[in-house]
Amino acid sequence: MAYDKFNILKSSAVPLPIENVDTDQIIPARFLKATERKGFGDNLFRDWRYNPDNTPKEHFVLNNPIYSGKILVGGKNFGSGSSREHAAWAVYDYGFRCVVSSFFADIFRNNCLNIGVLPVQVSPEFLDKIFKAIEANPNAELEISLPEQTITILETGESEGFAINDYKKENMLNGFDDIDYLLNIKKDIEVFAQDTPL
């Protein structure tokens, strides 16, 4: 499925300074029963966000109206655990277009790239600066430039580069997905399959 193009994103951010945020927290297993990709944002961080009686937990950041924006900033090793793409869908469906962390789990990173959420990996020092900037001013804006591969804290002007492979960058900029690419080389695949017995 083709997705929205990503170019430059300027937005305030939601801070979640916790390490090893696993995908069971991002979307608990009991919410994986849908057969369509709809409405996962409602259950993003369900058990951190709501009490068992469905009242919002006051202290969780998504329930704090002073924080908003299209960027989620998480601690080290974000997205570990289950391969459920539903976690990336929930992040996207809630309204985030970018997740920033000092370290991502592999499958979560891939899943994000495949649905049009940009994972931006920064140094632990820069991650710290971002958290401090948001702490000082909840409206502090970040600018993420995919063409330049930079992330900037606009108030301080501090900036850092981030890595993304050329192919994925091109896809994100144009909103293409891998299946479009693969369907175009179907002949090569069929030739390869002939020589590859079961």
């Binding site: 300074p17 994986l32 090793n77 570990s80 793409e85 192919y167 693969l182 090569d188």
Partner: protein, 469 residues
């Protein structure tokens, strides 16, 4: 040029390499289950395309399924919907579907090897992170997301950059009471849950050579819990003996030809790994976790470490202990528990039930413990009956449930209640993993059995009949 085992298998499956981009990797076998596939099939429908190679695709029901009364319609509407969707999608695309009640039904990573779908040198994917299990046979096997499931259904390929290689070597003999699960939990506790991110792991050395195929599966299964894409072990005679004659493995001349190839699947002597880590077998003790990720594990006789002694943020560590209602410095031995779960793709194989039975034989289930014993497949269930293990379980006051993922991720009715402690042979102790508010202690089947009969965290060595030389 010298190559690692991983290089050999990966390189032989690259359809195309994209400069500064991913490889297009051909996938030999694709395993599908009900939870991560419906949206992928919907994608195919929207593109108006069919599954490219249904004969390389296998579907089963496991994540959602009840572990009781499987002959009756599934009560949970949403689960029933997902199961129906998989059945219909499989039919529409000519994919074999092993639904509830089918003799081949069971947890996807248990039935793959059982039916010979898993073979050395293959590339195997599934929309489930524990696909790494199949690496035990010298295959490259890893978990994928739903977009990638759609990718493989429609093109039999996946686009990923090649991972870096990490070899973990352990030589020597394991101590009494130390199982493959303990070996894996030990490694994860040393590497942390992110320590192998970006790497594909090869397990090497005496400990893995001496391990049964079931044990190797347990170790490879848990590779993902240290962040690795997957784990693998070079195939040997044990591997070939295990797969020979299974339904989907090659036969006759094709077998001989395959064997010639499989026997080349090992890391060359001079192969260079991006990273090497070595442990010795005798440092490993029976393990138990105390926190909310699989890296938070200790030798069962040890105390819970203090925050400043562990890697990771202090706030995260404190949050974790608070969730578990444990304190720094406390002993794990003697902590009362409420539930025991034997099962999952990590420890739901026949050998795990044999280990469990070896401890509970002649003893009784503790009154304060609810035990859910869930075989990984119908074939495992059959073996439990055939080998007389069911009698041992029943005599000790336990009952056997029907196969499925069950309380590992609690997508069915098997949920550990909030605040309760479960000694679990599964793979994840994340917050709420086994049910909202549940508290999970990951451990081996021996530790689970010791807890099941004593009602508290117990060193299984105290209950083992120690062999004298």
């Amino acid at each position: 040029m010298s190559k690692t085992l991983f290089d050999k298998v990966w390189d032989s499956h690259v359809v195309k390499h994209i400069e500064n981009g991913p490889d297009v990797l051909f996938i030999d076998r694709h395993l599908v289950h009900e939870v991560t596939s419906p949206v992928a099939f919907l994608g195919l429908k929207n593109r108006n395309i069919k599954v490219l190679y249904p004969e390389r695709t296998f579907a089963t029901a496991d994540h959602n399924t009840p572990t009781r009364n499987q002959h009756l319609p599934v009560k949970d509407k949403l689960s029933a919907n997902q199961l129906k969707a998989l059945e219909e999608n499989s039919k529409a695309h000519n994919i074999p579907y092993w639904g509830l009640g089918h003799e081949k039904n069971g947890i996807v990573h248990v039935i793959g090897p059982e039916n010979g779908i898993t073979v050395p040198g293959a590339t195997i994917v599934c929309g489930d992170s524990h696909t790494s299990t199949h690496g035990a046979f010298g295959a490259i096997a890893f978990g994928i997301g739903t977009s990638e499931v759609e990718m493989v259904l429609s093109t039999q390929c996946i686009m990923q950059p090649k991972a870096k290689s990490l070899r973990i070597s352990i030589d020597g003999d394991l101590n009494i009471g130390v199982t493959p699960k303990d070996v894996a939990l030990f490694i994860i506790s040393k590497l942390t849950t992110s320590g192998a991110t970006g790497y594909f792991v090869e397990y090497a050395g005496e400990v893995f050579r001496n391990m049964s195929m079931e044990g190797r599966m347990t170790v490879c299964n848990l590779s993902i819990e240290m962040g690795a894409r997957g784990g693998m072990i070079a195939p040997d005679e044990k591997t070939f003996d295990y797969i020979k004659g299974r339904e989907y493995t090659p036969k006759g001349a094709t077998w001989d030809k395959a064997m010639k190839y499989w026997q080349t699947l090992y890391s060359d002597e001079n192969a260079v790994f991006d990273k090497e880590i070595t442990f010795t077998a005798n440092e490993i003790e029976p393990m138990i976790t105390y926190g909310t990720n699989p890296g938070m594990g200790i030798g069962i006789q040890n105390g819970i470490p203090s925050a400043d002694a562990v890697e990771g943020g202090n706030a995260t560590y404190k949050k974790s202990l608070q969730y578990m209602a444990f304190n720094e410095g406390e002993a794990m031995i003697g902590k009362p528990i409420d539930f025991v779960f034997l099962g999952s793709c990590t420890n739901g194989r026949i050998e795990d039930f044999r280990a469990f039975a070896s401890i509970i034989k002649g003893r009784k289930k503790a009154d304060n413990v609810t035990a859910w014993l869930v075989p990984g497949s119908h074939r495992v269930e059959e073996a439990i009956r055939r080998e007389g293990i069911l009698d041992i379980l029943n005599t000790a006051g336990f009952e056997l449930r029907e196969p499925g993922c069950s309380a590992c991720l609690a997508m069915n009715d098997d949920k550990i209640p909030a605040g309760k402690y479960a000694v679990s042979t599964s793979n994840r102790n994340f917050e709420g993993r086994q049910g909202p508010g549940s508290r999970t202690l990951l451990a081996s089947p021996l530790v689970a059995a010791a807890a099941a009969v004593t009602g508290k965290v117990t060193d299984p060595r105290e209950l083992m009949e120690l062999q004298t030389a």
